[in-house]
C-alpha cells in the first residue's frame, strides 16, 4: 500500500484519477483506519489531503462561511465566530466520537464516509449547505442532501474530491439545532438524529424552515413536510406536534443492533420537536 501527501489540489486529483478506484482519500482517518483494520477497505494508495491549504480553512464568504473539507471537528468547535453563526452544526460536530476522535475526524470525512447516522450531516442539510467538489474536469457544486447515495456510497465520480462546504447567508432571527438519541450520553452512534434550521420574521412567525433526519433511512433525509408544519406558525405546541408527526412519517428505518423500526419512528418525532424548540429559542434571542 502506497502513501502520498500532495500539497496541491491538482496533485491530489491526478493521484486519485490515476489509481483506477484503488485509492482512498486520507483525511482524519477515524473511519478509514477502522475499515482497513477490519478488512472492509484494502486500498492500494492513500492520498493524504491534509497538506492542501484550501481544504483546511474556515473563511467568511458572501455573508456565509466556507469550511474546508479537511477542517477537523475540534477546529470547527473552537472557531468562535462559526459556532456563533451555526450553533446547530456545531451541536452535531460536538457529538462525533470522543474528544480524541474529534481531534482528527474531518467534516469532509464524516460526509464521505456516507453513514446514514453521521452526526454532522443533518445540520448541514438543514442549513442548506453546498458541497464544493473538484475533479479532473474542474469544479462543481452539489446540494448536500443529494450528495450521499446510500450507506457507504456518495455521488462522487472516480478521481473527484470534496474540497469544502459553503454555508449560505442567513437573515436575522435565525436559529438551528441538532439533537440525536443514543443510549449513552457519549461515544454512541446516533440511533436517530434530527436537525432544524429556521428563521422568524419580525413578528415571530416562522418564515423559513428546513428539517433533516439522520439514521432513519439509507441516507440523511431532507423532510419538507416537517418544515411545512412550522412555516407560517409561531412554532407553537400545535405546530410542533404536526412537525413531530411529519418527521415520524418520513422515516423508513431498519431494525438493527442499535434500535428497532418503531423505536426510531417514534423517537424521530420527539427529537425533531425538541430540536425545533431549541432552534426557535436560539432564533428568538436578539442576534
Amino acid at each position: 500500500m502506497r502513501y502520498e501527501a500532495p500539497k496541491t489540489l491538482e496533485q491530489a486529483i491526478a493521484l486519485l484519477s490515476g489509481a483506477n478506484g484503488q485509492a482512498r482519500v486520507l483525511a482524519g482517518g477515524t473511519d478509514l483506519l477502522i475499515q482497513m483494520r477490519s478488512g472492509r477497505a484494502e486500498p492500494e494508495l492513500l492520498v493524504d489531503i491534509k497538506a492542501i491549504p484550501e481544504m483546511r480553512s474556515i473563511v467568511a464568504e458572501t455573508g456565509g462561511y466556507r469550511v474546508g473539507a479537511a477542517v477537523t471537528c475540534m477546529e470547527l468547535i473552537e472557531n468562535e465566530a462559526f459556532a456563533q453563526a451555526w450553533p446547530g452544526i456545531v451541536d452535531g460536530v460536538r457529538l462525533i466520537g470522543s474528544i480524541q476522535v474529534k481531534g482528527r475526524a474531518t467534516m469532509g470525512g464524516n460526509l464521505c464516509n456516507a453513514s446514514p447516522a453521521a452526526d454532522s450531516v443533518p445540520a448541514l442539510i438543514a442549513a442548506g449547505a453546498v458541497v464544493c467538489i473538484v475533479g479532473a474536469q474542474g469544479r462543481r457544486e452539489a446540494l448536500i442532501e443529494e450528495f450521499v447515495a446510500g450507506p457507504g456510497k456518495t455521488t462522487l465520480a472516480n478521481g473527484e474530491l470534496v474540497v469544502s462546504f459553503l454555508l449560505p447567508r442567513r437573515g436575522p432571527h435565525s436559529g438551528d439545532a441538532y439533537l440525536r438519541f443514543t443510549p449513552r450520553t457519549e461515544m454512541d452512534i446516533a440511533v436517530v438524529g434530527a436537525a432544524v434550521n429556521l428563521t422568524l420574521d419580525d413578528t415571530g412567525v416562522c418564515s423559513r424552515a428546513r428539517v433533516s433526519l439522520g439514521a432513519v433511512a439509507e441516507r440523511a433525509l431532507l423532510v419538507p413536510e416537517a418544515a411545512a408544519a412550522l412555516i407560517g406558525t409561531r412554532v407553537d405546541e400545535a405546530a410542533l406536534k404536526r412537525l413531530a408527526a411529519a418527521a415520524s412519517a418520513a422515516c423508513r428505518p431498519i431494525d438493527d443492533k442499535r434500535g428497532t423500526k418503531d423505536f426510531r419512528i417514534k423517537v424521530a418525532g420527539v427529537m425533531a420537536q425538541r430540536a425545533a424548540e431549541i432552534a426557535t429559542e436560539r432564533a428568538r434571542r436578539p442576534s
Binding site: 502506497r2 480524541q100 482528527r104 457519549e186
Partner: protein, 158 residues
C-alpha cells in the same frame, strides 16, 4: 514495499523510525520506539487507552498512521513527569486511589492534562464529558473525577 522513514519529536526528543504504510502511530510508539506506556484497549478509537498529544491536540494514536507523524511533536505518558517531579495529576491519581488495574490510567492522564491546559477550572460535568472517550472498568470513574478536580485546584494555586 519499502518502509517509510519518519522523523518526529517524542516527549521533546528527536526520534527516527521506519514504518509500513498501514502501521498505526500506536504500533510505532510501542513496537518501533519501545514506548509501551501507551496502551491498546480496542484499536478502533472507542476506549481512549491509546491517547497521546500530537502537536498539542489530544488524539487516539490507534486511529492515526505512523507515517502521518512525520515532523510532528508527540507527547506520551512517559513524558508527563519532569525528572523527579510527577505532574500534579499523576500525584493526585495516586493520592486519591484514582486507579486500580492502571491500564486506562496513561490515556486518562494525557486526556485530563489536555483538559486542564484549556480549562483550568472545569466543573464535574465538564470533566466527565471530556473524559467520556476514556473507558475505565475498575473504578466507576468516581475517584478519577475527584482527582482531576483536586489537581485542577492545586494547579490554579487554589
Amino acid at each position: 514495499m519499502a518502509r517509510h522513514h519518519v522523523s518526529a519529536t517524542v516527549n521533546g526528543d528527536g526520534v527516527e523510525f521506519l514504518c509500513e504504510t498501514g502501521q498505526t502511530l500506536l504500533e510505532a510508539l510501542r513496537d518501533e520506539l519501545r514506548l509501551t506506556g501507551t496502551k491498546e484497549g480496542c484499536g478502533t478509537g472507542d476506549c481512549g487507552a491509546c491517547s497521546v498529544m500530537v502537536d498539542g491536540r489530544l488524539v487516539c494514536s490507534c486511529l492515526m498512521l505512523a507515517v502521518e507523524a512525520e515532523g510532528k511533536s508527540i507527547q506520551t505518558i512517559e513524558g508527563m513527569a519532569v525528572g523527579e517531579t510527577l505532574h500534579p495529576l499523576q500525584r493526585k491519581f495516586i493520592e486519591h486511589a484514582a486507579l486500580q488495574c492502571g491500564i486506562c490510567t496513561p490515556g486518562i492522564l494525557i486526556a485530563a492534562r489536555s483538559l486542564l491546559a484549556r480549562n483550568p477550572n472545569p466543573t464535574e460535568s465538564e470533566v466527565r464529558y471530556w473524559l467520556a472517550g476514556n473507558l475505565c472498568r475498575c473504578t466507576g470513574y468516581h475517584k478519577i473525577v475527584e482527582a482531576v478536580l483536586d489537581a485542577a485546584r492545586e494547579m490554579r494555586g487554589g
